[in-house]
Symmetry: C2
Subunit: 441 residues, 2 copies
Amino acid sequence: MSAHPITSECGIRSRVLRTREAARSLARLPGKSRNEILIAAAAAIENRSDEILAANQVDYVTLASEIASGRVSEAFARRLRTSAVGIKEMAARVRDVAALDDPLERPHATTQLDDGLTLVKVPCPLGVIAVIFESRPDVIPQVASLAIKSGNGLVLKGGAEASCTNAVLASIWREILVSHDEALADVICLLEDRSEVPLLLTLDREIDLVVPRGSTDFVEYIFRNSRIPVLGHGSGICHIYVDRSADLQVAVNVIVDAKTQYPAACNSVEKILVHEDLSGFLPVLIGQLHAAGVEVRACERTAATCPDLPIVAAGEEDWSTEYCDLKLTVRVVRDLNEAISHINRYGSRHTECILTEDRSAAELFLNEVDAASVFHNASTRFADGFRYGFGAELGISTSKLHARGPVGMEGMLTYKYKLRGSGQVVSTYAQGQRSFQHRRI
Amino acid sequence: MSAHPITSECGIRSRVLRTREAARSLARLPGKSRNEILIAAAAAIENRSDEILAANQVDYVTLASEIASGRVSEAFARRLRTSAVGIKEMAARVRDVAALDDPLERPHATTQLDDGLTLVKVPCPLGVIAVIFESRPDVIPQVASLAIKSGNGLVLKGGAEASCTNAVLASIWREILVSHDEALADVICLLEDRSEVPLLLTLDREIDLVVPRGSTDFVEYIFRNSRIPVLGHGSGICHIYVDRSADLQVAVNVIVDAKTQYPAACNSVEKILVHEDLSGFLPVLIGQLHAAGVEVRACERTAATCPDLPIVAAGEEDWSTEYCDLKLTVRVVRDLNEAISHINRYGSRHTECILTEDRSAAELFLNEVDAASVFHNASTRFADGFRYGFGAELGISTSKLHARGPVGMEGMLTYKYKLRGSGQVVSTYAQGQRSFQHRRI
């Protein structure tokens, strides 16, 4: 019987359509009301802290047997875990988003095409955004606050491992929305079942954007299988180039931070390029990396400079491999230009950094490297929506279109053109009876 | 032997890489220099008018046998044709683009993250844009001027029917670029051979955006087969809703213009929704449409109101069919809300219009209809980059992401984040030794 999948598709589709309808009601609200919802939700998250912690404990205990059997890693379980402090932070982030400028009430670009014919470009919500994420239940308050602030509906699909925590968090948001207005009940829709994802990805008329947050394999699966536009990032192959004029103490500090502060992050450094004049620096750097527990792979020139250190020979594939681990690859380059060429060839256009005290070298690097984030004398780990001051992060994009790099609320917006006339027709202009003024006002 | 396609791929790829390299040189130029190139190109187009006309004559004569044999339409051949006046217009459009504000020198959004740690969001060119178009050789000066103004490289693939005209136009641009700087020679790359298109569409690392301009089938082919992001539009199913409070003379004028001024355009009207209180208006409107040579299909209520007029009964498929011809479909709706629901269900999110003297009805329509362009009392035919004052048009997009509606130079830009630090590491902030300022400056 083929009835089941069809029922399921209808079920999801009708839920998403209810979210779409609720989002229209949300977008009609003035910014003040959307902020009131956020402030109330932040308070409710704090007030129901015990309930969230109890649900999180259930999820964690359930996962314990999976850890014991080796099916999931300790690190994975750690990302699931929240705490009283973590819940306070969730609430604080929601209040941060409430404090941002209203994206729907910003000044509009207006052009007078002719007398009584005025074109206005106005920002508007995308409509419905689906966020599919693994573990980390703090994704819910982050993306929920961005969605409500920007007038969008939200379809959430979390990992099974966090289902109790996610259910409590979603119910808090639903209650706050309903208490504001019954018509907002379905602004946030939480899907429970992993089997619903393939169906979800076919709803390109009902959902405007899909944001996958999780492992590289998971994100690639979504990119390959979605009919809906996807905002996300594949691998993060981030480089740091140590220029001839680098401050070498800064170089060691920044590289160790960029590799070890959170090695699994997409913005952690994977490749180090070192100017050939700095051969004396190589043993120092590699020694410090070893001391920090980092496995170092390197090109032949690097290895020749450090004959006494344990270095794995790097192969061609190392330059395009993301380790997400305490590993990195070092290469000696002739000069700044070779560094830029190497990065533009092998980088994933995510985050790239130059360490130098030479300002013109830094500016050349920032201009010529083709990446979403280009840094001078700072750790690649700064590439993040919260650190950039966006209040919260929808995701990170390595696409150049729509939204690039760490993406906050901007990624949830589009625009439309409103043309207000008084009966004008095109033939008047095509025949030269009138001509356009195109006056910006 | 499979050697040929491989050679061909290498050939195209290396040509595109040369364009990418030349575009980097172009993007380094100050806005003043990019404008000088445009002004010189406009003069060269006028000076070499005879040469362009002669080439165009060759193309036209070649096509004559195709018209005679019925393989191509007169309308198709007409789009290929240019004239002394047409060439003057080409040059004028190039000068219009030169007069626009410089997109690469606009003020930047800057945030001080902490003392000595400053984040700047700067606009930058996408890199290389491929435009694949049919007939109409005036596409070349339009997109070439937009690309040069915005610091992008351009790969052009025109239709075989315009090959002589396109070759002359491309050679004019190349000469002007070379005379400015030899390094700019390959900023514009003209591909000759249709067989190169499938290879081109695989170069997702070398080309940042593909813009198909041509028939709906052709655009859909590109959407289905491209690994590169595509900017374009599928069908244009545009509606005009005649509200109870419409000025009926305005309604007739606007509808006749929107249907007949250029029926093959994607922004010509395809469906008319009429408020049920206007039954007396239906015979008037349909009579005028018949007089203008338009075939009218209609719902049962419309047909019942006009028993003496020849009306084809509309089927369900008519609501989602783009005719691109002197045909349209009329439906009676209960009220404004039913009109909005119908449009949001069947429209292609291109251009939608309300005709009314009731301002609040108009505002509701403009807010609630989900389309790139929403109009009040003006012909749908105004939805066009030139008419909107963009100087020239890259294309029209029915996607909500990146660029929506008529797209000018904005669609050729992305941005990057430049972070300038003084050795900062993330662990300082993660451990609470310092906190972010996030001060907009």
